[in-house]
Symmetry: C3
Subunit: 268 residues, 3 copies
């Protein structure tokens, strides 16, 4: 295990230059913030979920973000069509298993997606990922639950099972692709008081994955930039609402020196 | 009629400690703000509306908030399933009759809900509540209309009819459960310039009802905390957008001394 | 071509006095901001999309705003019902052809709407309008693409074809009704970093159209007020999130002197 400097900022610069289109089928609660976070990164978000157009929209995009936060049967069917189009084009598909473990329906739909399409990045908090990995956990809605397991091992095993990069967010984020594992230690507890920071993290990862084929590296860089921006933001915040506003603007204005100086990451 | 000091802050502390899960089936306009207001109170919001999972989700929760702001036939059917699950578990169900009186469809669906499931708290502005109570009013969309009636009497009668607590928001809010009636006099006209303060008030009431079985008392305490935070917020605001941001952060940081000092409430 | 002073502020005052109801069937991404921008203008937004109630809701309103950003088949069917009701009542119908050109489905639905109901104002960015006008363009999601054509001529021709006012937003906005063409030169590039400024502009136009029968004039005045507020806002902004908040409050507080002094508009 060793501390290193990850060249995360050059990826952010690449996003700002290339302005990739990131197609989302996401939840109704945080849909605006997911679009906004992609926009402040310098990329171009598009949200479209009609079964009749998702294949064509994903084919225009450079990555596809799926988030089951407010899923329905029809919505998941549209996700499958979009994902198959993304798979065919060869762009990365990111799935946020938001709320997995809360209901049987949610779990069933996650497993359907994982079975019927190729998911390149599986992302959730510890309890959600543990559930998808077949661990026995109890969850409370969409907020994380303490998980007693060794999540690094769980993430690696899940990664190998689905040939996917696995991202587990929490106090320390785990990014594992079966070969490499990153531990991202940036971020701030204030993020837990804002609805949608988890969904936004997924959209950030999806945006970084649009410009970088090493998906674990992309996810690691995305989380670093997002969470460093959060640390900058919290210094100016009087509460969660001000914090969120600062977070967007800090990410919009983030520079390379700050990313290099503030990052706390390990590769194991 | 006498002025009193309501122990509203201890309930807020209870929310912060117990972090109850509050399940919502709410409208697409203010869904994010409803989740956020629950979060800044210290509780845990979950928004889920698929017919296949709402019963299980409500069974995990400690209260259920229904808001018909952007209702459809299927959405109301999912509300019924969720409410029956909540009724069975014995947790409170709060219905915001948002926009009642604007269309026949909206009224019909309100009455269907009131007939087919147990609603524990009915909440609306004066024109909406008057409509549900069978008074003849004309409304204009989702914004309130002047109502000539004695709304306290209307609220009490409606409360008795449905064995429910009735909340009428306005310059002075009325909370009536057939025995006790509270008049909450806090708040500020700036709230009327922000989309969603009515919906947020409902979510606040739902969150307080999750930790307190006396629902009229819970609703009164929730409105007090929300509206005192609004009064604190308006002092720092240059307009509705800044006001809204301050409102979230004032509620997040609200303390007992402020709640006791600023509350203006009567019990009649 | 001559520079002139447009009496835009009196229309804003009329909105503040009359508080028209503006019915929306809009997209899920920016629905809150569309409602908010109508509210800070002093009008009353209502969002309702159930097929069973849209006709009645449009009949209560003074204008109808349609936005296909997250369209589905059913949603467009509800739009048609609402629009026919609006047509019958004689209130203006504004269509934001958001994302036109991105998918065949989106284009098809735009043309269906334009064929089956009367659209009084067609609004989009250059690539979207070019697509609707039958020009051969490639688009990238919902963000604008450089268009090589003479957009003033395109707008005029489209206006004549559908007997509608056409609004093309961009660095300079074009408003054409076949007789008069306005070029609105206010605004700021910061607007392009905020998700939803295009949708909000449509809602602003819809609100001005609710109080003024000369729709090109109404659209021109709406864009002027919105973009002058944006110019005021950007002076105080550290990034897109702060900018957006200031934009709402600047529009809420906008006065006649500022509108007269800052407007940059040509009539050709």
């Amino acid at each position: 295990m060793h501390t290193l400097t990850i060249p995360a900022y050059p990826l952010l610069e690449k996003i700002r230059q290339q302005k990739p289109l990131v197609h989302h089928l996401t939840n109704w609660v945080t849909i605006y913030d997911c679009a906004s976070i992609v926009k402040v990164l310098g990329a171009s978000p598009v949200m479209a979920h009609a079964a009749q157009e998702v294949a064509q929209m994903s084919n225009l995009a450079l990555s596809l973000v799926l988030n089951i936060g407010t899923l329905t049967v029809d919505f998941v069917e549209a996700m499958k069509i979009a994902a198959l189009s993304a798979n065919k084009k060869g762009i990365p598909v990111i799935l946020d298993v938001c709320g997995a473990g809360a209901t049987a329906f949610r779990d069933e739909k996650c497993f359907e997606l994982l079975k019927e399409v190729t998911i390149n990045i599986i992302k959730g908090n510890a309890s959600e990922i543990a559930k998808i990995a077949g661990q026995n956990v109890e969850t409370k809605g969409v907020d994380s639950t303490e998980v007693a397991h060794d999540m690094v091992a769980v993430a690696r095993a899940l990664s190998l099972k689905y040939h996917a990069t696995v991202v587990v967010t929490g106090k320390e984020d785990i990014v594992a692709d079966g070969v490499t594992t990153y531990l991202v230690k940036n971020g701030h507890t204030m993020m837990t008081h804002v609805v949608g920071t988890g969904c936004m993290a997924t959209s950030v990862i999806g945006t970084f994955a649009a410009v970088e084929p090493d998906l674990a590296f992309a996810a690691c860089c995305g989380l670093l930039c997002f969470e460093i921006a959060a640390e900058c933001a919290v210094q100016k915040a009087k509460g969660p609402a001000h914090f969120k506003e600062e977070l967007f603007d800090c990410l919009f204005n983030l520079d390379g020196k700050t990313v290099d100086r503030m990052q706390r990451v390990e590769k194991i």
